[in-house]
Amino acid sequence: MEIILAIITGVLYASGIYMILRRSMVKFILGIILLGNGVNLLIFTLGRITKGEPPIIDSAEKVLEGVYADPIPQALILTAIVISFGLQAFAIILVKRAYKVLKTDDLDQLNTTDEDS
């Protein structure tokens, strides 16, 4: 299971970074979405995958014994998903506005900020 997840994570990172390096702004947004999913999957995998062992303490005992699934990575991923969701929504609107004003989608054309004014 871990090996499959590791490969998927790698593919998501690679495709995300490839998309970010493209010149189009829309492809950039697709890139950050893929990269965000890759990061979430990475945290999930690094938190050790344990099947069918919920971290619930029996009423008879005081502490958890043996192997149990770590709940923290899931909490981290949930937070990261919510944050990156908000940022992606912002990015889409920003790119749409920028496209309307600048009349181009090509990142090579974006050089008015470097002009001497």
Binding site: I43, L46, A80, L94, A98, L102, T112
Partner: protein, 502 residues
């Protein structure tokens, strides 16, 4: 109650940012509320600073979960000092925003978002949990995206796209680093990580996560190969927004680097060499960039980059003297960089431009204002009694003792180039005669403003200049404070013991 005082700066900003949302269209009322809020935050920050100064590191455990399990807020000397500086800069900028930012921009919730930005900054300085640090970073960047794109002018949107792209990418790298680190140590509390990372055998993975942190924070703090988003975006929003970005956003990256490399990754020789060479290149490229620019806002932007190198290099030397220099420089830099962009906003209001070729004759027409602006400019260079001089003694001494002559040379080069560029700027903007250009008619010039409106432009500059003068002439106090913070940072078991209550 007195133990919880370190989270009060967060509560104040959260309260005011939510309160301001209820008065969405009442811009004039928002201005008053925002200034009151920032004044209150300044008082609270001073109170928290004095409390921590007298009683040592304070911690607050959220929800009463004890340290390695719950999220803790840690108010050590470094954190509360930065909270105090944030409050000073935030107060000055909120006064400056009232007239200098046009109403069309203020109507889109400018002040509310501004308070969220300050909330995020305070949270990032105070938190003791590394994932919580990520969340505060996200709050900072989301607020800064809104502030940079409010108004929607052409070059502003273009700057926003560039700024967004690299900061979002930096956050992703930071999150990756965090995931790798959690996989290695299984905890998120920074003090706990510091203890457990010594037991990890796989040093390659530790180095990989350290480099990922370096890249993530490096993009945010604009060090050498990663700074190109900064000159493309910081001059596009109004000067008030640029001021708060210049003063605090890159410095929060420097703070995160200081925290991570004094607490978690201590004393790896590979990283030290990497940081030092990046610092030298940062000073060099920032200084050379500043010399060729004609727009004063762009000159100041390259100075931000140049002077980040001073702090990163001091961090890489990792001796107590160097650390004291870094902290002193950080204190000096936050105030001075905020002030420089406020000054550029004031010059824009007087002359409708910030291009050096079109400017001139400021000293002949406004001698008193020119004198006021001269103090921060010469403090930046570090003319001896002023504030930029003192941290450079510590940094140069430390680099000489550590026999890092390249960094020693870079420090001298950085100071010299700052002097040259400020000299050029002074000659072009203040002494040269006004060149004949057509001033636009449809513009509210500084002279046409009412006295109260003029006051909102001059007061923040004068206030920050006063703070700079205090840092310069009261250097003994600041040096003592810096040395105390440096001692705390170099002996990180003090931090760990305070957090884990051992």
């Amino acid at each position: 109650m007195t133990n919880d005082i370190i989270i009060l700066p967060l509560v104040v900003h959260l309260f005011f940012s939510i309160l301001l949302m209820f008065f969405w269209n009442k811009v004039n009322f928002q201005k008053v509320v925002s200034i009151v809020g920032n004044a209150l935050a300044l008082c609270v920050a001073i109170w928290a600073f004095i409390h921590v100064y007298n009683n040592g590191t304070q911690i607050v455990e959220s929800g009463n979960w004890s340290a390695p399990f719950g999220i803790v807020f840690v108010g050590d000397m470094l954190a509360v000092t930065l909270v105090l500086l944030t409050a000073i800069a935030g107060f000055a900028v909120s006064v400056f925003s009232t007239i200098s930012v046009i109403k069309a921009r203020l109507r889109f919730g400018y002040f509310s978002v501004f308070h969220f930005l300050l909330l995020g900054l305070n949270g990032a300085f105070l938190t003791g949990d590394i994932f919580n640090l990520y969340v505060w970073f996200e709050i900072i960047i989301i607020s800064s995206f809104v502030l940079i794109s409010i108004g929607g002018e052409k070059n502003q949107l273009e700057g926003a796209v560039k700024y967004f792209a690299l900061n979002f990418f930096a956050s992703m790298i930071f999150l990756t680093a965090l995931g790798v680190l959690y996989g290695l140590v299984g905890t998120l509390n920074m003090a706990d990580i510091s203890l457990k990372i010594a037991e990890v055998e796989n040093t390659t993975l530790i180095d990989i996560s350290a480099v990922l942190f370096l890249v993530g924070f490096g993009i945010k703090s604009a060090i050498f190969p990663l700074y190109f988003w900064l000159p493309a975006s910081y001059h596009t929003p109004p000067s008030a927004v640029s001021a708060i970005f210049a003063g605090l956003l890159t410095k929060v990256g420097v703070y995160a680097l200081i925290r991570v490399f004094t607490l978690i990754y201590v004393g790896s020789s590979f990283l030290t060499t990497l940081l030092l060479s990046m610092a030298i290149m940062t000073i060099f490229s920032g200084g050379v960039g500043a010399i060729i620019q004609n727009n004063i806002k762009k000159v100041f932007m390259y100075f931000i980059i140049c002077h980040i190198g001073f702090m990163i290099g001091g961090l890489a030397l990792f001796t107590e003297v160097a650390m004291a220099g870094v902290i002193f420089y950080l204190i000096h830099d936050i105030i001075i960089k905020t002030n420089l962009f406020l000054i550029s906003g004031l010059i824009y209001r007087i002359k409708t431009t910030t291009n050096m070729k079109k400017l001139g004759g400021l000293y002949a027409n406004y001698p008193k204002l020119s004198l006021l602006m001269a103090i921060p400019l010469f403090s930046l260079v570090g003319i001896p009694p002023l504030s930029g001089y003192w941290p450079k003694i510590s940094l140069i001494l430390a680099s000489f003792n550590a026999e890092e002559y390249w960094f020693f040379g870079a420090l001298i080069f950085g100071s010299l180039i700052t002097l040259i560029v400020i000299g050029k700027l002074w000659a072009e903007v203040f002494w040269k005669d006004q060149p004949k250009i057509n001033f636009p008619k449809k513009f509210i010039y500084f002279d046409q403003l009412r006295l109260g409106q003029k006051f909102t432009f001059v007061f923040p500059v004068a206030f920050l200049t006063f703070v700079t003068l205090y840092i310069g002439f009261g250097a003994e106090h600041i040096q003592q404070l810096s040395q105390r913070i440096a001692t705390e940072l170099m002996n990180n078991e003090m931090y760990i013991n305070a957090v884990l209550k051992r």
